[in-house]
């Protein structure tokens, strides 16, 4: 078979893997940032821990 087919396949697969991996990292970063934003909305960062409050005695 013509070597050109294998050459094109090697370059194409490399492009797909590298760009796909970059896309995956960026999507995960976006997801983590959104989750962090959601958590910060749910609980203010300086809220006191409810379960660890010392009794008044």
């Amino acid at each position: 078979m013509n070597g050109i087919v294998f050459l094109k396949a090697a370059y194409a697969v490399s492009w797909i893997i590298y760009l796909g991996y970059l896309g995956r990292i960026l999507l995960r970063m976006k997801k983590v940032a959104a989750e962090r934003e959601e958590l910060d909305r749910t609980i203010p960062r300086n809220a006191a821990p409810a379960t660890l409050k010392r009794s008044a005695v």
């Binding site: 078979m1 013509n2 070597g3 050109i4 294998f6 050459l7 396949a9 090697a10 370059y11 697969v13 490399s14 492009w15 893997i17 590298y18 760009l19 991996y21 970059l22 990292i25 960026l26 995960r28 970063m29 976006k30 983590v32 940032a33 989750e35 962090r36 958590l39 910060d40 749910t42 609980i43 809220a47 006191a48 821990p49 409810a50 379960t51 660890l52």
Partner: protein, 228 residues
């Protein structure tokens, strides 16, 4: 975040474009193998970056065992994953070159086998990090990484120690090795471009790992406060 994403996508696409142009259009055609030899300009730099990442993983793992810092653990995790990606490209482009040149996709010679074992070691490392339960996962992973790195010099030396079907080293392989200057120019440029691409992936992946770590801590704090 949007700016970082745009810059990294443009940079990686530009690096891939430049390396493809150099490998496919600028490098001269090799006399014996013809155009299929151009796979070399992606195959070898991918292997180099994989080795570099596994070395970073080794150092970061040793530092983690010594200092127990979240940063070194994040760097170890990031470098192992990026290394596996580059090693995957190495293992795919190799057989795509071998089929037209050797007439076979794969043979169990020393270089190919040790490289496959290397890939399996670091995939196992990532699986260990992902699925191990308990508080000692990072310590186990770091110890695993230090022993796993032992395969890297074996892969590198395999074509020097053993008579293999894999070609002899082109660079630094003795008197009969070497590259035509026009080929060497393309090869070294691609090597630098792939290294830069590896650094981009590593920085982003490290940042992600630290963000995930911070999110886990925030979730733990929220649970402690009895809110989330």
């Amino acid at each position: 975040m949007k700016k970082l994403a745009t810059i990294s996508v443009v940079l990686v696409a530009a690096l891939l474009g430049i390396t493809s142009y150099l490998g496919l259009a600028v490098a001269p055609t090799e006399q014996t193998m013809g155009d299929v030899q151009r796979i070399f300009y992606y195959h070898v730099p991918s292997g180099w970056v994989a080795f570099l990442c596994f070395f970073i993983n080794f150092v970061a793992s040793a530092v983690y065992l010594w200092k127990r810092s979240a940063g070194s653990d994040a760097l170890a995790a990031a470098s192992a994953e990026v290394g596996v990606v580059f090693c995957t490209v190495l293992l795919i482009t190799g057989p795509l070159w071998a089929r037209p040149v050797w007439g076979i996709w794969w043979t169990w010679d020393a270089r190919l086998t040790t490289t496959l074992v290397l890939w399996l070691i670091y995939v196992s490392y990532l699986v260990l990090r992902r699925f191990a339960a308990g508080g000692q996962t990072q310590v186990l992973a770091a110890a695993f990484a230090i022993f796993g790195f032992a395969d890297v010099p074996i892969v590198y030396m395999s074509i020097r120690w053993f008579r293999t079907q894999h070609p002899s080293p082109v660079m630094g392989g003795g008197q009969n090795s070497g590259l035509d200057p026009a080929m060497a120019h393309v090869f070294l440029t691609n090597l630098a471009a792939f290294t830069l691409m590896g650094i981009v992936f590593l920085v982003l992946r490290y940042k992600l790992q630290m963000q995930e770590h911070a999110l886990e801590s925030a979730h733990a704090q929220a649970a402690l406060k009895g809110v989330a």
